[in-house]
Assembly symmetry: C2
Homo-oligomer: 251 residues x 2
DNA sequence: CGATGTGAAAGAATTCACAGCG
DNA sequence: CGCTGTGAATTCTTTCACATCG
Protein backbone atom coordinates (compact mmCIF):
# COMPACT_ATOMS: atom_id res chain seq x y z
CA UNK A 1 0.00 0.00 0.00
CA UNK A 2 1.18 3.35 -0.83
CA UNK A 3 1.67 5.96 1.68
CA UNK A 4 0.40 9.37 1.41
CA UNK A 5 1.37 10.61 -1.88
CA UNK A 6 1.15 14.26 -1.55
CA UNK A 7 3.41 15.79 -3.98
CA UNK A 8 3.82 19.37 -4.64
CA UNK A 9 5.67 20.93 -7.35
CA UNK A 10 8.74 22.86 -6.77
CA UNK A 11 11.26 24.28 -9.03
CA UNK A 12 13.94 22.21 -10.45
CA UNK A 13 15.96 24.49 -12.45
CA UNK A 14 17.46 27.41 -10.78
CA UNK A 15 17.12 30.77 -12.08
CA UNK A 16 20.19 32.11 -13.50
CA UNK A 17 19.70 35.72 -13.19
CA UNK A 18 20.85 37.83 -16.02
CA UNK A 19 24.46 37.36 -15.44
CA UNK A 20 24.38 35.89 -12.11
CA UNK A 21 27.62 34.10 -12.48
CA UNK A 22 28.29 34.37 -8.85
CA UNK A 23 29.78 31.70 -6.79
CA UNK A 24 32.78 30.34 -8.49
CA UNK A 25 35.55 32.76 -8.99
CA UNK A 26 35.53 35.64 -6.71
CA UNK A 27 38.39 37.97 -6.95
CA UNK A 28 38.79 38.57 -3.31
CA UNK A 29 36.95 38.41 -0.12
CA UNK A 30 33.98 36.31 0.70
CA UNK A 31 30.46 37.07 -0.19
CA UNK A 32 29.27 40.60 0.11
CA UNK A 33 27.23 39.92 3.15
CA UNK A 34 24.91 42.75 3.56
CA UNK A 35 24.57 44.26 6.94
CA UNK A 36 20.83 44.05 7.16
CA UNK A 37 19.46 40.83 5.84
CA UNK A 38 21.91 38.45 4.42
CA UNK A 39 20.87 37.45 0.96
CA UNK A 40 21.97 33.91 0.76
CA UNK A 41 20.70 31.71 -1.89
CA UNK A 42 17.89 29.46 -0.83
CA UNK A 43 17.60 26.06 -2.51
CA UNK A 44 14.70 25.96 -4.98
CA UNK A 45 12.98 23.12 -3.20
CA UNK A 46 13.10 25.08 0.02
CA UNK A 47 11.68 28.20 -1.61
CA UNK A 48 8.68 26.23 -2.80
CA UNK A 49 8.04 24.94 0.68
CA UNK A 50 8.55 28.27 2.37
CA UNK A 51 5.48 29.54 0.57
CA UNK A 52 3.55 26.69 2.11
CA UNK A 53 4.79 27.43 5.59
CA UNK A 54 3.81 31.00 5.02
CA UNK A 55 0.27 30.04 4.24
CA UNK A 56 0.08 27.73 7.22
CA UNK A 57 1.42 30.49 9.46
CA UNK A 58 -1.13 32.94 8.17
CA UNK A 59 -3.88 30.47 8.85
CA UNK A 60 -2.60 30.04 12.38
CA UNK A 61 -2.41 33.77 12.74
CA UNK A 62 -6.02 34.27 11.79
CA UNK A 63 -6.91 31.55 14.25
CA UNK A 64 -5.26 33.54 16.95
CA UNK A 65 -2.41 31.09 17.50
CA UNK A 66 0.71 32.86 18.64
CA UNK A 67 3.32 30.16 18.87
CA UNK A 68 4.00 26.98 17.01
CA UNK A 69 6.57 24.21 17.14
CA UNK A 70 8.44 22.89 14.14
CA UNK A 71 6.64 19.63 14.68
CA UNK A 72 3.15 21.01 14.34
CA UNK A 73 3.94 23.53 11.62
CA UNK A 74 5.52 20.71 9.69
CA UNK A 75 2.44 18.59 10.08
CA UNK A 76 0.21 21.41 8.96
CA UNK A 77 2.41 21.83 5.92
CA UNK A 78 2.77 18.20 5.05
CA UNK A 79 6.50 17.90 5.48
CA UNK A 80 8.81 16.35 8.03
CA UNK A 81 9.93 18.49 10.91
CA UNK A 82 13.56 18.09 9.97
CA UNK A 83 12.86 19.38 6.49
CA UNK A 84 11.00 22.30 7.96
CA UNK A 85 13.78 23.22 10.34
CA UNK A 86 16.36 22.91 7.62
CA UNK A 87 14.32 25.13 5.35
CA UNK A 88 13.88 27.74 8.04
CA UNK A 89 17.58 27.67 8.68
CA UNK A 90 18.13 29.10 5.19
CA UNK A 91 16.06 32.08 6.18
CA UNK A 92 17.60 32.61 9.58
CA UNK A 93 17.27 31.65 13.22
CA UNK A 94 13.97 32.99 14.31
CA UNK A 95 12.89 30.37 16.79
CA UNK A 96 13.37 29.96 20.50
CA UNK A 97 14.94 26.73 21.63
CA UNK A 98 12.78 24.71 23.89
CA UNK A 99 9.76 26.76 22.88
CA UNK A 100 9.10 27.10 19.19
CA UNK A 101 8.37 29.94 16.81
CA UNK A 102 6.35 33.07 17.26
CA UNK A 103 3.88 32.88 14.41
CA UNK A 104 3.78 36.50 13.34
CA UNK A 105 7.48 37.03 13.72
CA UNK A 106 8.35 34.00 11.63
CA UNK A 107 5.76 34.86 9.03
CA UNK A 108 7.23 38.30 8.60
CA UNK A 109 10.74 36.97 8.16
CA UNK A 110 9.74 34.38 5.61
CA UNK A 111 7.84 37.02 3.68
CA UNK A 112 10.89 39.21 3.68
CA UNK A 113 13.11 36.38 2.50
CA UNK A 114 10.75 35.65 -0.36
CA UNK A 115 10.57 39.25 -1.45
CA UNK A 116 6.95 39.70 -0.52
CA UNK A 117 7.44 42.89 1.36
CA UNK A 118 6.08 45.02 -1.41
CA UNK A 119 3.20 44.32 -3.73
CA UNK A 120 3.75 42.83 -7.12
CA UNK A 121 1.71 43.96 -10.06
CA UNK A 122 0.34 41.17 -12.15
CA UNK A 123 -1.15 41.33 -15.62
CA UNK A 124 -3.12 38.44 -17.00
CA UNK A 125 -3.05 37.74 -20.71
CA UNK A 126 -6.09 35.86 -21.91
CA UNK A 127 -9.60 36.55 -20.67
CA UNK A 128 -11.06 33.15 -21.32
CA UNK A 129 -12.37 31.01 -18.52
CA UNK A 130 -9.00 30.51 -17.00
CA UNK A 131 -7.97 34.14 -17.24
CA UNK A 132 -11.20 35.23 -15.64
CA UNK A 133 -10.86 32.63 -12.94
CA UNK A 134 -7.41 33.92 -12.14
CA UNK A 135 -8.45 37.56 -12.22
CA UNK A 136 -11.17 36.89 -9.69
CA UNK A 137 -9.17 34.55 -7.56
CA UNK A 138 -9.19 36.12 -4.15
CA UNK A 139 -6.00 34.48 -3.07
CA UNK A 140 -3.83 36.97 -4.88
CA UNK A 141 -4.54 40.30 -3.26
CA UNK A 142 -4.27 38.82 0.17
CA UNK A 143 -0.83 37.57 -0.65
CA UNK A 144 0.65 40.70 -2.05
CA UNK A 145 -0.23 40.28 -5.68
CA UNK A 146 -2.22 42.97 -7.36
CA UNK A 147 -3.92 42.16 -10.61
CA UNK A 148 -3.62 45.38 -12.58
CA UNK A 149 -4.70 44.38 -16.07
CA UNK A 150 -6.23 41.62 -18.12
CA UNK A 151 -5.89 41.33 -21.87
CA UNK A 152 -7.59 39.58 -24.70
CA UNK A 153 -7.25 39.73 -28.44
CA UNK A 154 -10.90 38.99 -29.09
CA UNK A 155 -12.75 42.25 -29.74
CA UNK A 156 -15.91 40.67 -28.42
CA UNK A 157 -14.27 40.36 -25.06
CA UNK A 158 -12.33 43.61 -24.91
CA UNK A 159 -14.09 46.05 -22.65
CA UNK A 160 -15.95 43.43 -20.66
CA UNK A 161 -15.80 43.64 -16.93
CA UNK A 162 -13.86 41.00 -15.07
CA UNK A 163 -13.88 41.50 -11.38
CA UNK A 164 -13.16 45.18 -10.99
CA UNK A 165 -11.10 45.35 -14.14
CA UNK A 166 -11.99 45.88 -17.73
CA UNK A 167 -10.46 43.70 -20.40
CA UNK A 168 -7.82 45.58 -22.38
CA UNK A 169 -7.07 45.01 -26.01
CA UNK A 170 -4.07 42.78 -26.43
CA UNK A 171 -2.96 45.08 -29.21
CA UNK A 172 -2.21 47.71 -26.59
CA UNK A 173 -0.37 45.33 -24.34
CA UNK A 174 2.98 47.07 -24.30
CA UNK A 175 1.47 50.44 -23.48
CA UNK A 176 -0.78 49.10 -20.76
CA UNK A 177 1.96 47.05 -19.17
CA UNK A 178 4.06 50.16 -19.05
CA UNK A 179 1.34 52.38 -17.70
CA UNK A 180 0.21 49.98 -15.00
CA UNK A 181 3.74 49.11 -14.01
CA UNK A 182 3.06 45.39 -14.23
CA UNK A 183 6.12 43.37 -13.30
CA UNK A 184 4.66 39.90 -13.57
CA UNK A 185 2.54 38.35 -16.29
CA UNK A 186 0.34 35.30 -16.22
CA UNK A 187 -0.28 33.64 -19.57
CA UNK A 188 -3.72 32.06 -19.74
CA UNK A 189 -4.04 31.45 -23.43
CA UNK A 190 -3.95 28.76 -26.08
CA UNK A 191 -0.76 26.95 -26.89
CA UNK A 192 -0.76 28.23 -30.43
CA UNK A 193 -0.26 31.88 -29.54
CA UNK A 194 1.63 31.47 -26.28
CA UNK A 195 5.14 31.82 -27.66
CA UNK A 196 4.35 34.92 -29.68
CA UNK A 197 2.67 36.63 -26.74
CA UNK A 198 5.46 35.54 -24.45
CA UNK A 199 7.99 37.17 -26.74
CA UNK A 200 6.07 40.42 -26.68
CA UNK A 201 5.81 40.34 -22.93
CA UNK A 202 9.53 39.78 -22.60
CA UNK A 203 10.27 42.55 -25.07
CA UNK A 204 8.09 44.82 -22.97
CA UNK A 205 10.48 44.28 -20.11
CA UNK A 206 8.65 41.78 -17.91
CA UNK A 207 11.01 39.27 -16.38
CA UNK A 208 8.63 37.05 -14.44
CA UNK A 209 6.13 34.92 -16.26
CA UNK A 210 3.77 32.22 -15.14
CA UNK A 211 2.39 30.20 -18.01
CA UNK A 212 -0.67 27.98 -18.08
CA UNK A 213 -0.27 27.24 -21.75
CA UNK A 214 0.54 23.62 -22.47
CA UNK A 215 3.68 24.27 -24.45
CA UNK A 216 7.34 24.61 -23.74
CA UNK A 217 8.12 28.31 -24.04
CA UNK A 218 11.54 29.61 -24.89
CA UNK A 219 12.68 32.71 -23.06
CA UNK A 220 15.99 34.53 -23.03
CA UNK A 221 18.37 34.45 -20.11
CA UNK A 222 17.32 36.58 -17.22
CA UNK A 223 13.67 35.87 -17.68
CA UNK A 224 12.05 33.76 -15.06
CA UNK A 225 9.42 31.43 -16.37
CA UNK A 226 7.28 28.97 -14.49
CA UNK A 227 4.75 26.67 -15.90
CA UNK A 228 1.61 25.06 -14.60
CA UNK A 229 -0.04 22.37 -16.61
CA UNK A 230 -3.22 20.61 -15.68
CA UNK A 231 -2.75 17.77 -18.11
CA UNK A 232 0.71 17.04 -16.77
CA UNK A 233 -0.61 16.85 -13.25
CA UNK A 234 -3.32 14.42 -14.23
CA UNK A 235 -0.84 12.29 -16.10
CA UNK A 236 1.35 12.06 -13.04
CA UNK A 237 -1.68 11.00 -11.04
CA UNK A 238 -2.47 8.42 -13.68
CA UNK A 239 0.98 6.97 -13.35
CA UNK A 240 0.64 6.51 -9.62
CA UNK A 241 -2.90 5.21 -9.88
CA UNK A 242 -1.93 2.66 -12.46
CA UNK A 243 0.92 1.55 -10.29
CA UNK A 244 -1.31 1.17 -7.29
CA UNK A 245 -3.79 -0.80 -9.32
CA UNK A 246 -1.14 -3.27 -10.26
CA UNK A 247 -0.54 -4.53 -6.77
CA UNK A 248 0.89 -7.78 -7.77
CA UNK A 249 2.32 -8.59 -11.07
CA UNK A 250 2.72 -12.05 -9.71
CA UNK A 251 5.19 -13.11 -12.22
CA UNK B 1 24.33 29.23 -24.94
CA UNK B 2 21.01 28.82 -23.58
CA UNK B 3 20.28 31.03 -20.77
CA UNK B 4 16.90 29.78 -20.79
CA UNK B 5 15.49 29.97 -17.40
CA UNK B 6 12.61 27.80 -17.73
CA UNK B 7 11.60 26.13 -14.64
CA UNK B 8 9.07 23.49 -14.62
CA UNK B 9 7.57 21.67 -11.88
CA UNK B 10 8.79 18.37 -10.90
CA UNK B 11 7.96 16.50 -7.94
CA UNK B 12 10.05 17.02 -5.02
CA UNK B 13 8.22 15.57 -2.37
CA UNK B 14 7.74 12.17 -3.23
CA UNK B 15 5.50 9.70 -2.29
CA UNK B 16 5.84 9.29 1.32
CA UNK B 17 7.25 5.95 1.32
CA UNK B 18 5.38 3.01 2.37
CA UNK B 19 3.44 3.79 5.36
CA UNK B 20 5.09 6.67 6.88
CA UNK B 21 1.87 8.36 7.11
CA UNK B 22 2.67 11.66 8.46
CA UNK B 23 0.59 12.47 11.32
CA UNK B 24 2.15 12.91 14.62
CA UNK B 25 4.87 10.54 13.85
CA UNK B 26 3.79 8.47 16.73
CA UNK B 27 5.55 5.60 15.28
CA UNK B 28 3.85 2.44 16.02
CA UNK B 29 5.29 -0.59 14.50
CA UNK B 30 6.75 0.26 11.21
CA UNK B 31 5.21 -1.77 8.51
CA UNK B 32 8.04 -3.18 6.52
CA UNK B 33 5.66 -3.62 3.70
CA UNK B 34 7.62 -3.56 0.60
CA UNK B 35 5.78 -6.40 -0.78
CA UNK B 36 4.93 -6.01 -4.38
CA UNK B 37 8.18 -4.35 -5.09
CA UNK B 38 7.35 -3.31 -8.57
CA UNK B 39 10.52 -4.00 -10.39
CA UNK B 40 10.40 -0.87 -12.43
CA UNK B 41 9.56 2.18 -10.53
CA UNK B 42 10.30 5.39 -12.31
CA UNK B 43 11.81 8.23 -10.25
CA UNK B 44 9.28 11.02 -9.61
CA UNK B 45 11.38 13.64 -11.34
CA UNK B 46 11.51 11.45 -14.42
CA UNK B 47 7.77 10.83 -14.42
CA UNK B 48 7.12 14.56 -14.47
CA UNK B 49 9.40 15.01 -17.44
CA UNK B 50 8.06 12.03 -19.34
CA UNK B 51 4.74 13.84 -19.61
CA UNK B 52 6.59 16.70 -21.27
CA UNK B 53 8.33 14.45 -23.75
CA UNK B 54 4.99 12.96 -24.52
CA UNK B 55 3.56 16.33 -25.38
CA UNK B 56 6.55 17.23 -27.51
CA UNK B 57 6.29 13.91 -29.31
CA UNK B 58 2.64 14.43 -30.04
CA UNK B 59 3.39 17.85 -31.42
CA UNK B 60 6.03 16.34 -33.67
CA UNK B 61 3.60 13.65 -34.70
CA UNK B 62 0.99 16.14 -35.78
CA UNK B 63 3.69 17.96 -37.69
CA UNK B 64 4.38 14.81 -39.57
CA UNK B 65 7.82 14.23 -38.11
CA UNK B 66 8.65 10.56 -37.91
CA UNK B 67 11.99 10.38 -36.24
CA UNK B 68 13.74 12.44 -33.64
CA UNK B 69 17.07 12.40 -31.86
CA UNK B 70 17.53 12.66 -28.13
CA UNK B 71 19.24 15.94 -28.78
CA UNK B 72 16.36 17.63 -30.52
CA UNK B 73 13.63 16.11 -28.40
CA UNK B 74 15.53 17.30 -25.37
CA UNK B 75 15.74 20.80 -26.73
CA UNK B 76 12.05 20.85 -27.52
CA UNK B 77 11.37 19.75 -23.97
CA UNK B 78 13.75 22.09 -22.25
CA UNK B 79 16.04 19.50 -20.72
CA UNK B 80 19.52 18.22 -21.41
CA UNK B 81 19.90 15.29 -23.74
CA UNK B 82 21.54 13.20 -21.07
CA UNK B 83 18.60 13.73 -18.76
CA UNK B 84 16.27 12.78 -21.54
CA UNK B 85 18.11 9.60 -22.38
CA UNK B 86 18.32 8.63 -18.74
CA UNK B 87 14.61 9.21 -18.33
CA UNK B 88 13.80 7.15 -21.37
CA UNK B 89 15.98 4.38 -20.07
CA UNK B 90 13.56 3.94 -17.16
CA UNK B 91 10.84 3.22 -19.67
CA UNK B 92 12.85 0.92 -21.88
CA UNK B 93 15.11 0.87 -24.89
CA UNK B 94 13.03 2.06 -27.75
CA UNK B 95 15.57 3.93 -29.82
CA UNK B 96 17.88 2.91 -32.59
CA UNK B 97 21.54 3.57 -32.08
CA UNK B 98 23.00 5.86 -34.61
CA UNK B 99 19.56 6.95 -35.69
CA UNK B 100 17.21 8.15 -32.99
CA UNK B 101 13.66 7.43 -31.96
CA UNK B 102 10.62 6.73 -34.00
CA UNK B 103 8.15 9.33 -32.79
CA UNK B 104 4.97 7.32 -32.71
CA UNK B 105 6.61 4.23 -31.32
CA UNK B 106 8.24 6.11 -28.49
CA UNK B 107 5.07 8.04 -27.74
CA UNK B 108 3.15 4.84 -27.42
CA UNK B 109 5.63 3.33 -25.03
CA UNK B 110 5.80 6.36 -22.81
CA UNK B 111 2.03 6.47 -22.69
CA UNK B 112 1.96 2.86 -21.65
CA UNK B 113 4.54 3.42 -18.95
CA UNK B 114 2.52 6.29 -17.56
CA UNK B 115 -0.68 4.32 -17.51
CA UNK B 116 -2.36 6.33 -20.23
CA UNK B 117 -3.43 3.39 -22.28
CA UNK B 118 -7.00 3.63 -21.15
CA UNK B 119 -9.04 6.73 -20.54
CA UNK B 120 -9.37 8.14 -17.09
CA UNK B 121 -12.65 9.55 -15.94
CA UNK B 122 -12.37 12.87 -14.25
CA UNK B 123 -14.95 14.64 -12.14
CA UNK B 124 -14.55 18.30 -11.29
CA UNK B 125 -15.86 19.60 -8.01
CA UNK B 126 -16.66 23.28 -8.07
CA UNK B 127 -18.25 25.03 -11.04
CA UNK B 128 -16.88 28.47 -10.40
CA UNK B 129 -14.64 30.18 -12.89
CA UNK B 130 -11.85 27.74 -12.37
CA UNK B 131 -14.03 24.65 -12.51
CA UNK B 132 -15.61 25.86 -15.71
CA UNK B 133 -12.25 26.68 -17.19
CA UNK B 134 -11.05 23.18 -16.43
CA UNK B 135 -14.19 21.54 -17.75
CA UNK B 136 -13.82 23.31 -21.05
CA UNK B 137 -10.10 22.92 -21.28
CA UNK B 138 -9.55 21.08 -24.50
CA UNK B 139 -6.27 19.62 -23.43
CA UNK B 140 -7.86 16.87 -21.40
CA UNK B 141 -9.77 14.79 -23.86
CA UNK B 142 -6.93 14.75 -26.27
CA UNK B 143 -4.70 13.33 -23.58
CA UNK B 144 -6.88 10.51 -22.41
CA UNK B 145 -8.81 12.30 -19.71
CA UNK B 146 -12.55 12.34 -19.94
CA UNK B 147 -14.43 14.87 -17.88
CA UNK B 148 -17.53 13.00 -16.84
CA UNK B 149 -19.10 15.27 -14.25
CA UNK B 150 -18.91 18.66 -12.67
CA UNK B 151 -20.42 19.51 -9.29
CA UNK B 152 -21.40 22.55 -7.37
CA UNK B 153 -23.18 23.10 -4.10
CA UNK B 154 -24.80 26.35 -5.19
CA UNK B 155 -28.33 25.67 -6.34
CA UNK B 156 -28.13 28.65 -8.63
CA UNK B 157 -25.43 26.88 -10.57
CA UNK B 158 -26.72 23.32 -10.47
CA UNK B 159 -28.21 22.41 -13.82
CA UNK B 160 -26.27 24.99 -15.80
CA UNK B 161 -24.49 23.88 -18.88
CA UNK B 162 -20.74 23.79 -18.87
CA UNK B 163 -19.28 22.58 -22.08
CA UNK B 164 -21.35 19.55 -22.91
CA UNK B 165 -21.99 18.72 -19.30
CA UNK B 166 -24.60 19.86 -16.86
CA UNK B 167 -23.61 20.85 -13.35
CA UNK B 168 -24.63 18.20 -10.83
CA UNK B 169 -25.66 18.91 -7.29
CA UNK B 170 -22.78 18.35 -4.91
CA UNK B 171 -25.25 16.70 -2.57
CA UNK B 172 -25.44 13.81 -5.00
CA UNK B 173 -21.73 13.54 -5.42
CA UNK B 174 -21.28 9.99 -4.18
CA UNK B 175 -24.03 8.65 -6.40
CA UNK B 176 -22.84 10.49 -9.47
CA UNK B 177 -19.23 9.51 -8.96
CA UNK B 178 -20.35 5.93 -8.74
CA UNK B 179 -22.61 6.08 -11.75
CA UNK B 180 -20.12 7.82 -13.99
CA UNK B 181 -17.26 5.64 -12.85
CA UNK B 182 -15.06 8.62 -12.12
CA UNK B 183 -11.65 7.57 -10.91
CA UNK B 184 -10.03 10.97 -10.61
CA UNK B 185 -11.31 14.15 -9.06
CA UNK B 186 -10.21 17.73 -9.49
CA UNK B 187 -11.01 20.06 -6.63
CA UNK B 188 -11.68 23.59 -7.82
CA UNK B 189 -13.25 25.09 -4.75
CA UNK B 190 -12.60 27.44 -1.86
CA UNK B 191 -10.11 26.55 0.82
CA UNK B 192 -12.80 26.55 3.47
CA UNK B 193 -14.69 23.57 2.13
CA UNK B 194 -11.85 21.72 0.43
CA UNK B 195 -11.04 19.33 3.25
CA UNK B 196 -14.64 18.32 3.81
CA UNK B 197 -15.23 17.68 0.13
CA UNK B 198 -11.92 15.88 -0.14
CA UNK B 199 -12.96 13.54 2.66
CA UNK B 200 -16.20 12.74 0.88
CA UNK B 201 -14.40 12.09 -2.36
CA UNK B 202 -11.99 9.74 -0.65
CA UNK B 203 -14.82 7.99 1.14
CA UNK B 204 -16.49 7.51 -2.22
CA UNK B 205 -13.48 5.49 -3.28
CA UNK B 206 -11.53 7.93 -5.43
CA UNK B 207 -7.80 7.56 -4.95
CA UNK B 208 -6.45 10.24 -7.25
CA UNK B 209 -7.08 13.87 -6.49
CA UNK B 210 -5.78 17.07 -7.97
CA UNK B 211 -6.46 20.07 -5.81
CA UNK B 212 -6.43 23.72 -6.75
CA UNK B 213 -7.54 24.81 -3.31
CA UNK B 214 -4.94 26.82 -1.44
CA UNK B 215 -4.79 24.60 1.60
CA UNK B 216 -2.86 21.59 2.69
CA UNK B 217 -5.25 18.67 2.51
CA UNK B 218 -4.90 15.60 4.63
CA UNK B 219 -5.58 12.32 2.95
CA UNK B 220 -5.21 8.75 4.16
CA UNK B 221 -2.51 6.45 2.94
CA UNK B 222 -3.14 5.06 -0.47
CA UNK B 223 -4.68 8.22 -1.77
CA UNK B 224 -2.71 10.12 -4.30
CA UNK B 225 -2.98 13.86 -3.96
CA UNK B 226 -1.37 16.56 -6.02
CA UNK B 227 -1.71 20.23 -5.57
CA UNK B 228 -1.51 23.22 -7.84
CA UNK B 229 -1.44 26.65 -6.34
CA UNK B 230 -1.32 29.85 -8.30
CA UNK B 231 -0.30 31.98 -5.34
CA UNK B 232 2.61 29.70 -4.57
CA UNK B 233 3.84 29.95 -8.12
CA UNK B 234 3.72 33.72 -8.05
CA UNK B 235 5.53 33.79 -4.74
CA UNK B 236 8.30 31.68 -6.16
CA UNK B 237 8.56 34.09 -9.07
CA UNK B 238 8.66 36.95 -6.63
CA UNK B 239 11.56 35.39 -4.83
CA UNK B 240 13.59 35.09 -7.99
CA UNK B 241 12.62 38.53 -9.20
CA UNK B 242 13.61 40.11 -5.95
CA UNK B 243 16.90 38.32 -6.09
CA UNK B 244 17.56 39.48 -9.62
CA UNK B 245 16.78 43.02 -8.65
CA UNK B 246 19.42 42.90 -6.00
CA UNK B 247 22.27 41.78 -8.17
CA UNK B 248 25.13 42.82 -6.10
CA UNK B 249 24.98 45.37 -3.41
CA UNK B 250 28.69 45.63 -3.30
CA UNK B 251 28.94 49.33 -3.26
C1' DC C 1 30.30 6.59 -38.12
C1' DG C 2 26.84 8.33 -34.93
C1' DA C 3 23.42 8.36 -31.55
C1' DT C 4 21.64 5.40 -27.93
C1' DG C 5 21.90 3.41 -23.41
C1' DT C 6 24.17 3.12 -19.07
C1' DG C 7 27.64 2.62 -15.37
C1' DA C 8 30.12 5.90 -12.59
C1' DA C 9 30.95 10.57 -10.77
C1' DA C 10 29.22 14.79 -9.17
C1' DG C 11 25.84 17.46 -7.12
C1' DA C 12 21.28 18.34 -4.50
C1' DA C 13 17.92 17.37 -1.29
C1' DT C 14 16.38 14.94 2.65
C1' DT C 15 16.90 12.61 6.88
C1' DC C 16 19.44 11.63 11.08
C1' DA C 17 21.06 12.59 15.33
C1' DC C 18 22.65 15.38 18.64
C1' DA C 19 24.90 19.68 20.35
C1' DG C 20 23.32 23.93 22.28
C1' DC C 21 20.51 27.08 24.43
C1' DG C 22 16.41 29.06 26.55
C1' DC D 1 13.97 19.25 30.05
C1' DG D 2 12.39 20.32 25.22
C1' DC D 3 12.89 22.12 20.95
C1' DT D 4 15.66 24.52 17.76
C1' DG D 5 19.50 24.64 14.59
C1' DT D 6 22.94 22.21 12.06
C1' DG D 7 26.91 19.11 10.68
C1' DA D 8 27.08 14.44 8.91
C1' DA D 9 25.06 10.51 6.68
C1' DT D 10 21.86 9.02 3.37
C1' DT D 11 19.20 9.07 -0.58
C1' DC D 12 17.80 10.97 -4.87
C1' DT D 13 19.03 13.58 -9.37
C1' DT D 14 21.71 15.09 -12.83
C1' DT D 15 25.72 15.06 -15.53
C1' DC D 16 29.63 12.79 -17.66
C1' DA D 17 31.84 9.78 -20.59
C1' DC D 18 32.13 6.00 -23.25
C1' DA D 19 31.05 1.16 -24.55
C1' DT D 20 27.70 -0.55 -27.75
C1' DC D 21 25.34 -1.63 -31.66
C1' DG D 22 22.57 -0.50 -35.87
Amino acid sequence: MEGIVTSLDSSPQAVQGAENAQGTSRGHGPQPVHATEAAKQIPPAAVARLTIYLRALNTLLSDGVERVSSESLAEASGVSSSTLRKDLSYVGSYGTRGVGYEVQYLSRHISAALGLTHDWKVAIVGAGNLGKALARYGGFESRGFDVVAIFDADQMVVGNEVGWLRVSDAADMEAVLQRTGANMVVLALPATVAQAVCDRVVAAGVHSILSFAPVMLQVPAGVNLRKVDMATELQILAYHAQRAQTPDQTA
